[in-house]
Amino acid sequence: MATVECTECGAEIEAADNVINGEILPCPSCGAEMEVTSTKPLKVELAPEVREDWGE
């Protein structure tokens, strides 16, 4: 289990061993959605906001 720091509030976010790029990790402290941009080493960025044409 790897951990990474939330870019918004600095809290620690845990990621499962099988995490992949593009996956969203919600910050357990502030609730911000973090997008995984690298798995080795684990890096995250604030995920984009929902856009009008998103969906199914």
Partner: protein
């Protein structure tokens, strides 16, 4: 077999599909569509894939990518045709009507003034402005039950139309107006169609008139009756076929109508209640397309050139 999965955000569904491919030992390259640049004069990169599974969360990105891949003969699940139809409620309704699949009554207007009068006519406006029956105003492009408006009277209609005219993007300049179907037992039904088969069905119940699970609707398994299967498969075929989620409404008199069809279906909330391994079914289908065992149709006439032969049908 080599598979690519196009994505822009890895939801639970994309992860489940990726893991299912891994479990079967199928090579799968995850491709972030936001980082892709399609060279329309040299598409050789894409010739290496037997099938591309399109799972972009953005309709515009998905439709553009599928249009390009379709033109160059790269096999995709779903197809450009399915995305083009299902990504637009107008296109979906047209195809359902064309193929004789029951759907709610819809009228289209292209100005706020025409929309106001259309809603008055569909709603049966009384002298005091109230409607005899509500109407639903929907954006032609959109998902997850967002920006739907159930309109009960002329005052609300005027306000919504003014907001759309002032604040909306150009997508909101076409007014898709649908009859309000009073859902039997306050629920709607979602079926999952893969190829020629309805593999699972759920009902979605909510105290709100919008029952999408993305909006908190609760999912429960529903038996796939012959009637549900027939109308679901018919709707899927009308809308391009492949891997599609069909949203159905049941009228008070029992008639079932197709409300919407989704081409990048979300299914994480439906696996447990139905007990159906939906990712496995989707992967079966995609690998069938990739191996040529399942035929899909193109929208464009494929061009000859660098990728001619790749994904030839």
């Amino acid at each position: 077999m080599k598979v690519a999965m196009l994505y822009a955000r890895v939801r639970v569904e994309e992860k489940l599909l990726f893991e299912e491919l891994q479990r079967r030992g199928v090579e799968c390259e995850m491709i972030d569509v936001r980082e892709v640049s399609f060279d329309l004069h040299d598409m050789t990169r894409w010739a290496q894939y037997d099938v591309v599974i399109e799972r972009c969360i953005s309709h515009s990105q998905a439709e553009a990518a599928l249009s390009i891949l379709d033109m160059f003969g790269v096999k995709c699940v779903n197809t450009y045709r399915a995305a083009h139809i299902c990504g637009s409620k107008l296109n979906t309704t047209l195809e359902l009507i064309r193929h004789g699949v029951p759907s709610p009554n819809v009228r289209i207007a292209s100005t706020p003034e025409a929309a106001l009068e259309t809603m008055a006519a569909m709603g049966g406006q009384r002298p005091d402005g109230r409607y005899e029956r509500p109407v639903v105003l929907k954006p032609a492009v959109g998902s997850w039950g967002r920006l739907l408006a159930k309109v009960n009277d002329r005052d609300a209609a005027e306000a919504i139309l003014e907001h759309k005219d002032t604040l909306g993007s150009y997508h909101h300049s076409i007014f898709y107006i649908q009859e309000f179907v009073n859902k039997k037992a306050g629920r709607d039904i979602r079926t999952f169609v893969v190829g020629d088969e309805t593999i699972a069905a759920i009902s979605r119940t909510s105290e709100h008139w919008i029952t999408n699970t993305a909006r908190g609707g609760k999912a429960e398994a529903v038996r796939v009756t012959p009637e549900l299967d027939r109308i679901s498969v018919a709707a899927a075929k009308a809308c391009g076929g492949g891997v599609l989620a069909i949203d159905l409404l049941e009228r008070d008199d029992g008639e079932i109508v197709v409300n919407e069809v989704n081409y990048t279906m979300e299914f994480k909330n439906s696996i447990a209640p139905t007990g159906v391994d939906i990712p496995a079914k989707v992967v079966d289908y995609a690998l069938g397309v990739g191996s040529g065992q399942i035929a899909i149709s193109t929208y464009h006439m494929p061009v000859s050139g660098p990728v001619a032969g790749a994904g030839a049908r």
